[in-house]
């Protein structure tokens, strides 16, 4: 992989960020209501003060100037001040981001650990009993909405069996090994809800990708050289079959974020998803805008990472 490939990918990510920022700004600009609505109806604020404020924040400028102003502020990390929490929005988000990334990351690992073996096994025995069961379970898995599986798990493991806590706690009192134990116990359900949902849709991709590769000539060659079936699958088939799966994992990320918002809300994980919901319910516009922007930026970032991994896995891509 060359530096030119990296640079080209980076340059391609910029217009996407630009496009998403335009969409977000358009939504904001089209929205009814004046950000200074309270000031307009408040009799204690004289009209000239209001007009001065409007001029200061550039609300009477042409749209494109307001957009550039807003974009520059977003890129500088100047995201405004949360009306509700009384802190800067960027600090608020930075506090919440690690929990979200941890839950999403762990869920992705669970999804891959479940989907790859099951998908490969199903593809090596197409239309067998195992394949049919795996396929049906995958269908059930991605037809079960995350909010329902979350409630079901709480009902079974917290309410009925009492094994796991159903509220996520960031200030655990335990230390050392006990801290890890408690952290594990409280993360199991959110991670499983998200990971199994994600894994269920991945299984089908892995299966069809392996099926595409397994009939290629080089696999027959490998077999005819007398290499054991197991080694052919793990060394020759899976490595190449995983290349399209990497892209699919990245393309699925917007859906993962949707799932993360719901899971964080159910299990009260203090991440940026539950922050988004709380700010919407509290009419905290700067936080709502900034969190949406962060989600969009994360999607682009992970697409970029997927592109880079893709170029590394498949060197032919980089030289095209």
């Amino acid at each position: 992989m060359s530096a030119a490939y990296l640079l080209r990918r980076l340059l391609l990510a910029l217009p996407a960020l630009f496009g998403i920022s335009i969409v977000l700004f358009t939504v904001l600009a089209l929205a009814p209501g004046d950000p200074f609505g309270d000031l307009a109806t408040n009799p204690n604020v004289p009209p000239e003060v209001r007009l001065a404020l409007r001029a200061k924040f550039g609300l009477d400028d042409p749209v494109w100037q307001r957009y550039i102003h807003w974009l520059m502020a977003m890129l500088r990390g100047d995201w405004g001040f949360s009306f509700v929490s009384r802190v800067d929005v960027d600090r608020l988000i930075l506090q919440r981001l690690p929990s979200t990334i941890a839950v999403i990351g762990a869920a992705q690992i669970v999804a891959i650990l479940v989907a790859v073996p099951v998908g490969v096994l199903a593809a090596t025995r197409p239309y067998s009993l195992f394949d049919q069961i795996a396929n049906s379970l995958a269908f059930i898995g991605f037809s079960l909405p995350t909010f329902f599986t979350g409630l079901l798990l709480i009902l079974i493991f917290s309410v009925n069996l009492g094994w796991l806590p159903f509220v996520y706690n960031t200030d655990l009192k335990e230390t050392g090994l006990a801290w890890w134990g408690a952290q594990f116990r409280q993360s199991v359900m959110p991670v499983m809800v998200l990971g199994l949902f994600q894994g269920a849709s991945l299984v089908r991709f892995v299966r069809s990708s392996v099926l595409d590769v397994i009939r290629l000539d080089y696999v027959t060659t490998a077999r005819s050289k007398g290499i054991g079936e197991r080694r052919v699958i793990t060394r020759h088939v899976v490595r190449n079959a995983m290349i399209p799966v990497v892209t699919l994992v990245a393309l699925q990320l917007p859906a993962v974020f949707s799932g993360a918002i719901v899971t964080e809300q159910i299990f009260r994980v203090p991440g940026i998803g539950s922050l988004l919901i709380a700010s919407i319910l509290a009419n905290d516009t700067p936080v709502v805008m900034a969190v949406s922007f962060v989600f969009a930026a994360l999607v682009i970032l992970f697409n970029l990472i997927a592109d880079i991994i893709y170029g590394w896995l498949d060197p032919r891509i980089a030289y095209r």
Binding site: S143, L155, S258, V262, S292
Partner: protein
């Protein structure tokens, strides 16, 4: 000699019969179709068979488990859950179907324009499609609903405003797969001989698209549309579950689940029934979509 004794070849089946024959082979799809038909029947005939008001408050029967008087139990106000779920199912399915109609029409229009125009129009439209594909859907959905809800409520009333908003937004964020499918189909179909023949006969561009190309491109679109119905139902329930969809007096399945989630320990059945309803509807629609793929999408047969 052999040719005279050979059985007469069966007359070819019509495309619909052929598709139905292939659909029937997918056993789970047939089961899905039956479950879906039963659900739709229950939702249509339900209010006449079970004429209990959805807002009949009865404090003597709060949070009851299923009984003969209330087959699905009651909620915290003693309202009958069976009739609430029947009513909610109408809205959930209506949202799903309307959002699918929106996303399919937007997708077909954009895909058709991109496939016919090619050149820079195609490039620009596909860039927009890719951009929309990388938008984080739920955050954007929440953002738009947050910003526009009050305005539309004032314009169209609580129920109508939220319905229109949810349908347009869900539909408007899900057209991209359809657009890509239609474009790909158009690019290959427009070079086929039958289109060439129609063009040679002097058919206008519009007539080519509507009468010749589009009908042949519809198979994959129908499959994608079916799955979109399920996705829209999930999206609507998610919004309602987060407390940002329909107001409490409109008991969609997600909304009932949202109200039930704080009473899991006292009245688990309150949450189980709406959750199972969403799951059954989505699962059967997904299976029907899979069966339709076998039946309609010639590329996927293996």
């Amino acid at each position: 000699m052999a040719s005279t004794t050979a059985p007469k070849p069966k007359p070819p089946l019509s495309p619909t019969r052929e598709a139905w024959r292939r659909f029937r082979k997918h056993r789970l799809a047939v089961v899905g179709l039956i479950v879906l038909a039963l659900l739709v029947l229950a939702i249509i005939a339900g209010p006449t068979l079970w004429p209990v008001a959805i807002d009949d408050i009865d404090f003597a029967a709060q949070l009851k488990p299923p009984s003969w008087a209330h087959p699905f139990g009651t909620d915290d106000l003693g309202q009958d859950l069976l009739s609430r779920l029947i009513h909610g199912g109408r809205i959930s399915l209506a949202v799903g179907l309307s959002a699918m109609a929106v996303s399919a029409s937007v997708g077909i229009t954009i895909g058709a324009i991109a496939g016919m125009a090619r050149g820079w129009v195609d490039t620009a439209l596909m860039w927009v499609t890719d951009l929309f594909l990388s938008l984080p859907q739920l955050p954007l959905l929440l953002l738009i609903i947050y910003l526009f809800r009050e305005k539309l409520k004032a314009l169209l009333g609580a129920e109508g405003g939220v319905f229109v908003l949810i349908v347009i937004v869900i539909g408007g964020l899900r057209w991209m797969p359809v657009a890509r499918l239609v474009r790909a189909q158009f690019l290959s179909l427009r070079e086929k001989e039958f289109v060439e023949a129609a063009r040679a006969l002097g058919a206008s561009k519009f007539r080519l698209v509507v009468n010749h190309i589009l009908p042949n491109a519809l198979g994959p679109v129908i499959v994608a549309g079916t799955i979109d119905v399920a996705a829209a139902i999930i999206a609507e329930s998610t919004l309602s579950f987060l407390g940002l969809g329909f107001p409490p007096d409109i008991p969609t399945w997600g909304r009932v689940l949202f109200d039930a989630k704080d009473y899991l320990d006292i009245a688990p059945t309150w949450a189980l029934f709406p959750g199972a309803a969403i799951f059954l509807a989505v699962l059967s629609i997904n299976f029907v979509g899979d069966g339709l793929r076998d039946a309609l999408d010639p590329r996927r047969v293996h």
